[in-house]
């Protein structure tokens, strides 16, 4: 696919907007997604596959980058033959309560009022 597109193809994103609600996993557990990415990277970079210099794009929501992937992203980069990996993240909703809550994890602890 990327060869056919020539230089227009920046890379291949394996999955867009994986569900944040995976059955059987906790709120910040993305083990199933990690496993999928491991298998997918191996398949994409396999014999005759995508050149190592062409980015494989890995997507997950911001709150998971700030939690699960902060601890586990290196496991993917360390895969033999993983090549260039680029993480992509974005906000789907506009200014909403859910968006604010998604980003709450990165906000510093507010100062406690003495009153």
């Amino acid at each position: 696919m990327c060869v056919a597109a020539g230089p227009t193809c920046y890379g291949i994103e394996l999955l867009n907007e994986p569900t944040p609600y995976i059955v059987g996993e906790g709120a910040s557990d993305r083990a199933a997604l990690l496993h999928y990415y491991q298998l997918a990277i191996a398949a994409v970079r396999g014999a005759g596959g995508l050149d190592a210099a062409v980015p494989i794009v890995l997507m997950d929501w911001p709150q998971f980058l700030a939690s699960y992937w902060l601890r586990n992203a290196r496991a993917l980069a360390a895969l033999p033959g993983a090549g260039t990996l680029v993480w992509e993240s974005h906000i789907y909703a506009g200014v909403s309560t859910s968006t604010l809550l998604e980003l709450k994890a990165l906000a510093p602890t507010p100062p406690t009022s003495p009153f």
């Binding site: 911001p62 506009g94 604010l100 980003l103």
Partner: protein
């Protein structure tokens, strides 16, 4: 929500004027901080995808002047250019070199470099960013260079 509203000002640059203390900025700049923090902690390359900036901007109802200033301030905040031309109305009109793209540009971010990836560079008709050459995104740079714009 209250705790977040108290905490967010701590994340925002004091250079930003009160007129731009919008909820859009309050979302976007912490998102940049998150992505930069993730990149710094893991060594990963990170891109801000889809049309986050334009979506946030248009829904917040920023006018063209505010949008233009927002681009400038965000660029200064990140140390590189950050433009997204896919927003409707005022945001697209505010682009300094508006190619009027019908699709999304993607912004790449890491702690010391920001570049733009072009999903379909053949759609570009004008230069859109002059400070994104070099750096670790050689693939982006090479394509942009071959396109004769950067």
């Amino acid at each position: 929500m209250k705790a977040l509203s108290l905490a967010l000002p701590l994340l925002l640059s004091t250079r930003l004027p009160p007129a731009l203390q919008t909820r859009t900025k309050a979302i976007t700049l912490p998102l940049f901080e998150l992505l930069r923090g993730f990149a710094a902690a893991t060594g990963a390359r990170v891109m801000l995808g889809e049309w986050t900036l334009a979506r946030l901007g248009s829904r917040a109802g920023l006018d063209a002047a505010a949008a233009r200033y927002y681009y400038q301030e965000t660029s200064a905040f990140l140390g590189r250019c950050v433009w997204n031309f896919d927003g409707p109305g005022a945001w697209r009109a505010a682009a300094p070199a508006p190619p009027r793209l019908p699709h999304t540009l993607t912004i790449l971010i890491n702690p010391d470099h920001v570049a733009l990836a072009i999903p379909n560079p053949s759609r570009l008709s004008r230069p859109w960013c002059t400070c994104c050459t070099g750096g670790p995104y050689s693939r982006t740079t090479r394509r942009s260079t071959s396109f004769g714009r950067l």
